[in-house]
Point group: C2
Chain length 343, copies 2
C-alpha cells in the first residue's frame, strides 16, 4: 500500500498543502475549524508528517542520487521535483547533482558512490555511451530516465531505461504538420554530431517526410551551434532569424524543444510575421509555458510525471528484489494548440 | 589571480566551450587545425582541464552546500548554474538540495553538515526566521543569497546576506507605472500572511502610491492562494481572470514575478484584450523569457549573476579569513519592454 502524503491530506480536506502544513506546524495563520478538520483527517488516515528531522532518524542515511544533464531546463525541473517527492515517500534522501555537458556522468556517479551510501542512481536526460566495463564499477542499480541512448554493448538485463521513443515522436509531429498541408517544414535540430535524442527526433522527421514522398531539403535542417546554449530560447531565436534571412521558402518550423519553439516564435514576430498565419511553429516536451505563451504552442507532450514516478518505483522494486531491470517506452501525446494551422 | 577556465579558453580561441571540450577529450568531430590552436592556447595559458575525476583528487571531499527554496523557478536555475561554476573554480564540490516550503531549511542544513564535510552553506531564496541559538548549531559559515528576511535577532556579524532591496524595487516599478500615467494599478501579490520578499515588494507598491497621492484600492491587491503553486504562471493566470471577471477598473498589473506576469498576459489575451493597448503588465526578476515572450515583458531585472558570483566569492573570502560577514544590497534595473505603455 502506498503511504499517504501531505498532498493526499490536502486533497481530502479540499485545502492547499500549505494549509495542511500550517495545521501540522501550529502556525497561527489558520482558521481553527479548518485546523481541526485537517488534524482529524490526519489522524483518520494515519498520515505521518514528513519533516526532515524525522526523516533523518528513519533513513539512516540511505540515499538515491539523481544526476541531471541540463538542470536549467524546465522540463527536467518538473521531473526532479516529482522524483524528490517519490524518493521521500520511501524514506530515502535524494541528492541531486548537475552534470555538465563536458563532464563524464559515470565519473561523477563513481565519486558519489564513494562519498555517500548510495542505494541507487537515476540518470536524468542527456545521452549515454559508456562501456559495460566502466558501468560495472558502479556496483549499484541504475536507471536511465529520458536518456537518449543505450549503453554501448551493455546487456539490457544490467540497467533499466524509461523514456519516450524519440524517433517515433519526431515522426508523429512531422506527420501531423504534413497532414496539415505543410511540405516545406524547417527543423531546428541538435548539433550535427549529436548522437542522442536530437538525432533520434531528426530521424523521425526524415522518415515522415520520406513516407509522404517529400524529399528532405538539407537547407531547412538547421543545427544548434556549440557557442549557444543547447535547446535554449536563444538558440531557437538565432536559428529562426537565419532561416528567415536566408530567403528559403518554408511554411512550418518543428523545433526539437518547446524552449526553442518560443525563440522561433519571437524571431517570427520580430520579423513582422505572424504565428500561425505566416508560419506554423511546433515544439517538443510539453512544458507548462506551452499553455501560457502567445500563441499557445503545439507540442509533443512527454508524460514526464509518469516517467519520473515510474523511474523511482522501478528503482525501489529492483532494490527490494521485486523486479529485474526493465525497459519501458512511454507514448507522447500530440497537443494541438494555437501555434500551428492548416496550410 | 583567478584561475583560467574552459570558458576563457573558448573566448580566446573564438570557439564554443564544447569545441574546447572536444579538443581536450580527443573527440573525432573537430577540425585538426582548430584542435591544434586550442591545445596551444591551453598550454600557453596553463589551463588545467577540470573534469570530475581530477577534481576528486584535489578537493579531498571539500564541499559547499546550496539549499534552494523553489528549484523549479527559472530565476534560481540560473543562480545554481553560476554558483556551481564558481564553486568548481575553487576546487570544491557542490551539493544542491531542494528545500520544500514545509521543510525547515536549518534542519536540512544540520543534516547535511553531519553527512558531509561541508565548508559552508549558501541558502538561496525563500525567507528566514530562525533563532540565533539554532543557527549557532550549524558551526560553519552561511550566506543568505536573495533571501527575504534577516534571521530573528541574530547579530549581523554572524551571517552574510546578498540581495536586492525588495521594497525599493517594488517601489521602483510602481513609481514607473504611475509616471506612465497609470493610477489604477492592480498587484498580484504573495499570500496575505507572507512575511518575505512578497511582503516587501507589496510595501514598496503601497509606498509609491502614497507618495503620488493615490489611495490604494484593496480590491486591486490580489493575493496568491495556498492551493496554487506560489509565483507560478497558473497563479498569475487565475488571479488575473478573477480580476477581469470582477469588473473592477484598472489599467495596469504589477505581478511580483515574471512567471506570474506571463500568466497575467495570457489571461488578458484569452479575454480578447491586448497587452499593452488595453492593460499594461509588468513583472519582477528579469528571467530570460522576458525577452522572448509576446509581448516582451517589462520587469525589474535582479543582477542574479552578480549576486550568485558575489555569494560564492564572499563565502570563500570568509573561509580563507580574508573577510568577516557582510551585508550587500544590489540595485535592480528597470527593463522597459513591450508589455507596458503610456496611459
Amino acid at each position: 500500500m502506498e503511504e499517504i502524503t501531505i498532498k493526499d491530506i490536502a486533497r481530502i480536506c479540499k485545502v492547499g498543502v500549505s494549509t495542511v502544513s500550517r495545521a501540522i506546524n501550529n502556525h497561527p495563520d489558520i482558521n481553527p475549524e479548518t485546523k481541526k478538520m485537517i488534524m482529524d483527517t490526519i489522524q483518520k488516515y494515519g498520515y505521518i508528517p514528513n519533516n526532515s528531522a524525522r526523516n533523518l532518524k528513519r533513513t539512516d542515511g540511505k540515499c538515491v542520487a539523481v544526476l541531471v544533464k541540463g538542470i536549467t531546463n524546465p522540463f527536467f525541473a518538473d521531473a526532479i521535483q516529482i522524483m524528490e517527492d517519490e524518493i521521500k515517500k520511501k524514506k530515502y534522501s535524494m541528492v541531486i547533482r548537475h552534470v555538465e555537458f563536458n563532464e563524464d556522468e559515470v565519473d561523477v556517479a563513481l565519486e558519489l558512490v564513494k562519498e555517500k551510501r548510495l542505494a541507487g542512481i537515476i540518470f536524468l536526460g542527456g545521452y549515454f555511451s559508456h562501456s559495460e566495463e566502466k558501468l560495472h564499477k558502479l556496483r549499484i542499480p541504475f536507471i536511465l530516465s529520458t536518456v537518449g541512448c543505450a549503453p554501448d554493448g551493455m546487456h539490457h538485463d544490467n540497467y533499466s531505461s524509461l523514456s519516450v521513443d524519440d524517433e517515433k515522436e519526431g515522426y508523429r509531429m512531422t506527420d501531423f504538420l504534413i497532414r496539415q498541408g505543410h511540405e516545406k517544414i524547417a527543423i531546428l535540430a541538435a548539433q550535427p554530431n549529436d548522437a542522442s535524442i536530437g538525432r533520434m527526433r531528426l530521424n523521425g522527421y526524415r522518415k515522415a517526410l520520406k513516407d509522404h514522398g517529400i524529399k528532405p531539403d538539407e537547407e531547412l535542417i538547421r543545427h544548434m551551434r556549440p557557442e549557444i546554449k543547447s535547446y535554449s530560447m536563444e538558440s531557437g531565436y538565432v536559428l529562426t532569424r537565419e532561416l528567415l534571412d536566408s530567403g528559403k521558402e518554408f511554411t512550418a518550423i518543428f523545433a526539437l524543444s518547446d524552449t526553442m519553439a518560443v525563440g522561433a516564435c519571437r524571431a517570427i514576430v520580430e520579423a513582422g510575421k505572424r504565428v500561425p498565419e505566416d508560419y506554423s511553429v511546433a515544439g517538443f516536451d510539453g512544458i507548462e509555458l506551452c499553455s501560457y505563451y502567445n500563441p499557445t504552442l503545439t507540442t509533443i507532450r512527454q508524460p514526464i510525471q509518469h516517467i519520473a514516478e515510474a523511474s523511482v518505483k522501478l528503482l525501489f522494486d529492483i532494490l527490494a528484489g521485486r523486479s529485474g531491470h526493465q525497459h519501458k517506452v512511454f507514448a507522447g501525446e500530440l497537443l494541438e494548440q494555437e501555434s500551428t494551422a492548416k496550410r
